[in-house]
């Protein structure tokens, strides 16, 4: 295989993926309702994961993800093919999460906070599962505006450009928030540094 072939192989999946969403959406607009299910199948896990990571509450995941896809279903006919479908989808996801977080914050005012993140509890060696839970809890303590870029970058592997489009903010802001998010996270996890690292 020469280097040109290699280059094509590397590029192809991206192009297919890009075109695929567009062609599926066109099928949907032309009246093929089953196309929507194909879209859901392709993207549901990513959406569910973003919701899960943002909310840190698995009980809410399917409800919020369902609302996201219902919104997509209602508005897909007006999709303008100007940006990637995923950018739009993730933006809806993030906004829906923000709505929920806002509602939960209002509720928190009326109910005492659950201070479950007790650092002193982890004196024994920490298992892999525990690390995941501890880091999730720590991330959930970040303010939403720092949490979301951090999740999209460090867990979901988005580029700064994609994060900027999804969160509808400047690249510079993304850069700054990711740095601040990491700093804040390090600060929260500081007492567990020895066990975690």
């Amino acid at each position: 295989m020469n280097s040109k072939d290699k280059e094509q192989d590397l590029q192809q999946p991206q192009i297919v993926s890009f075109d695929d969403d567009y062609s599926i959406i066109r099928r949907f607009i032309d009246g093929d309702k089953s196309a929507f299910q194909v879209l859901v199948k392709r993207h549901k896990e990513k959406v569910r994961n973003i919701v899960y990571l943002t909310m840190n509450n698995s009980a809410l995941v399917d409800d919020i993800a369902q609302e996201v896809f219902i919104t997509v279903y209602r508005n897909l006919k007006n999709f303008r093919f100007e940006s990637q479908f995923t950018t739009w989808l993730y933006r809806i996801t993030v906004n829906r999460c923000k709505d929920y977080l806002r509602r939960m914050n209002v509720r928190k005012i009326f109910s005492p906070l659950d201070e479950s993140f007790e650092v002193s509890e982890y004196s024994t060696p920490i298992e892999n599962n525990d690390i995941s839970k501890i880091v999730m809890d720590a991330i959930s303590k970040l303010p939403a505006k720092l949490r979301m870029p951090l999740i999209l970058k460090d867990i979901e592997g988005f580029s700064y450009q994609e994060i900027s489009e999804t969160l509808n903010c400047e690249m510079g802001t993304v850069k700054s928030r990711i740095f601040r998010g990491r700093e804040k996270l390090k600060e929260i996890l500081q007492p567990l540094e020895k066990e975690l690292l």
């Binding site: 599962n129 999740i151 970058k153 460090d154 740095f179």
Partner: protein
């Protein structure tokens, strides 16, 4: 922006390979000379690595089905109401819908409406008899025939309870183990009938002969579905009646105590007919209770397929020498069924819920092919036998009150002993007098009552264990309080009588 913060942000972006060429060069230049920045970069890298260790959510295989159900459900709702609703009332309804959605975000009812077929199919998968899934023993099956309770899982965390309401209609309940009624057991039967090991084997063989027919009656699967064939109500009666008929032959003397009037010819015929009908026919109409809904549907249970599957699993297990995972049946009443509390009569079933019990009433369930009307004639027999098994299993004395005396009978070996105590000669409220102000339901604190033939003392002595065996602490407490009240009332009444007699005497000279 401070210069330091700018550099740190660049450092973080450098880690993500998100810098322009000049920015990258700038960072690398700083890194080559500053140990502090190298340390900072290392810290950022560690934090990033930690974030990447967060585990992702497991896949949801039925997300699409539910989503499509919700979309279909919403479409139907909007198309039906839009043209009728004026704008003002639409706003009010939107508000109500928002509140409802907030309270009940699962929308599972809508899913059910929209995806009935798909969900029914989903919940029917891998149904297997509770007999094998929950690893039920003959004792479990006997207890089911005796007290209507059947464990639904291997760890005995949940029970299926069959019952009849006041109007005689069937209902079933799924109860958590702490709500188990525990109304009687195989052990009681063995004690009451004084069965030896050989006779126990006979009982076992009778139960075994039902196992094939019974296995199709209650099915469960790993999706928390319980499928109940309404036949199971009859099956339970037939099994119990059959065991009674058989036990008559085993120990006639003991049996006569359990069913004093005996089993007449008509009842015997009903038992034989019902048993043969039930053993040879399995209805294909089931009631499915699932985490989403309760519905009635056809289901053909094929024991051969299940047997084949089980054998396959066994072979695989042997081959790999793996431990079989325990089958556990979990149903979260609070979360999964919360909506039913408000959904009464929305389906053809009436569902009543509290935090530990889910009860489903079954109105007008039509299954003519399996109805054995004459089996109802066995009800009095079954009821009498059940009560007497309880009675004779514990050798509890019978207490009968008449106008002037209390007769106490108790059973010991093969004889009945009795006491007759004259009621009028006794100080009835002596217990209350001696124990004034003390906890009457706390038997440990009771002071003894002097007169050895005191009626209440005798009742206390004989009934103590009875209460302990048959009632919960709450019930015992309630009854003791009631007894206390009755005694106090009686005491007052007697005192009043005394005064009245006295006043009559004093009145007569005045006349």
């Amino acid at each position: 922006m401070k210069k330091d913060t700018r550099i740190l942000e660049l450092l973080s972006a450098y880690l993500d390979d998100e810098l322009t060429a000049p920015e990258k060069a700038e960072v690398e230049k700083i890194l080559s000379t500053s140990l502090e920045m190298q340390k900072k970069l290392e810290d950022l890298k560690k934090t990033k690595q930690l974030s990447s260790r967060v585990k992702k959510l497991p896949e949801s295989p039925f997300f699409e089905t539910r989503l499509m159900g919700a979309i279909e459900g919403q479409k139907r709702k909007t198309s039906g109401s839009r043209k009728w609703l004026p704008a003002a009332s639409l706003a009010v309804i939107t508000l109500i819908v928002m509140i409802v959605m907030k309270l009940n975000p699962h929308l599972l009812d809508q899913v059910w409406e929209g995806q009935k077929v798909a969900l029914a199919g989903f919940y029917k998968e891998n149904l297997q008899p509770v007999l094998t899934a929950a690893n039920l023993s003959n004792e479990d099956i006997f207890n089911f025939a005796f007290n209507n309770e059947l464990p639904l899982d291997d760890s005995r965390r949940q029970y299926l309870l069959l019952g009849y309401d006041d109007s005689g209609k069937e209902y079933f309940e799924i109860r958590s183990s702490d709500q188990k009624l525990d109304r009687g057991s195989y052990k009681e039967f063995v004690t009451a009938m004084n069965l030896d090991d050989k006779q126990k084997e006979t009982v076992d063989s009778i139960i075994n002969s039902y196992s094939k027919a019974l296995e199709a009656q209650v099915l469960v699967n790993d999706k928390n579905t319980v499928a109940i064939n309404p036949n199971v109500w009859n099956m339970r009666k037939a099994l119990f009646a059959d065991l009674l008929v058989a036990s008559e032959k085993m120990n006639k003397t003991k049996f006569d105590r359990i069913v004093p009037k005996g089993i007449d010819e008509n009842e015997r015929v009903v038992v034989v007919n019902a048993v043969s009908k039930l053993k040879n026919s399995t209805g294909d109409q089931y009631i499915f209770i699932t985490p989403d809904s309760v519905f009635e549907d056809k289901y053909v249970f094929d024991p051969k397929i299940v047997e084949k599957e089980l054998k396959k699993v066994e072979r695989q297990l042997k081959k790999h020498e793996e431990k079989m995972q325990q089958f556990t049946f979990q149903m979260k009443f609070d979360s999964a069924f919360k909506k039913y509390a408000e959904a009464e009569n929305r389906h053809s079933f009436k569902i009543v819920l509290d935090s530990n019990i889910c009860r489903v009433d079954i109105p007008n369930f039509d299954q003519t092919e399996n109805q054995i009307l004459e089996i109802a004639t066995l009800d009095p027999l079954i009821e009498q036998a059940t009560n007497n098994i309880h009675f004779y299993a514990y050798k509890i004395p019978k207490i009968e009150k008449s106008k002037s005396e209390i007769k106490i009978e108790y059973y010991n070996d093969d004889s009945i002993y009795s006491y007759v105590v004259n009621y009028n000669t006794l100080n009835i409220d002596s217990l209350v007098q001696v124990n004034g102000g003390t906890d009457l339901y706390n038997l440990e604190n009771f002071k003894p009552v002097k007169p050895s033939d005191d009626t209440m003392l005798i009742k206390y002595q004989f009934d103590k264990n009875y209460y302990h065996r048959y009632y919960s602490d709450e019930e015992f407490k309630r009854q003791m309080e009631e007894l206390q009240k009755q005694l106090q009332d009686l005491s007052k009444e007697l005192k009043n009588k005394k005064i009245r007699v006295h006043s009559e005497v004093t009145k007569s000279p005045a006349k």
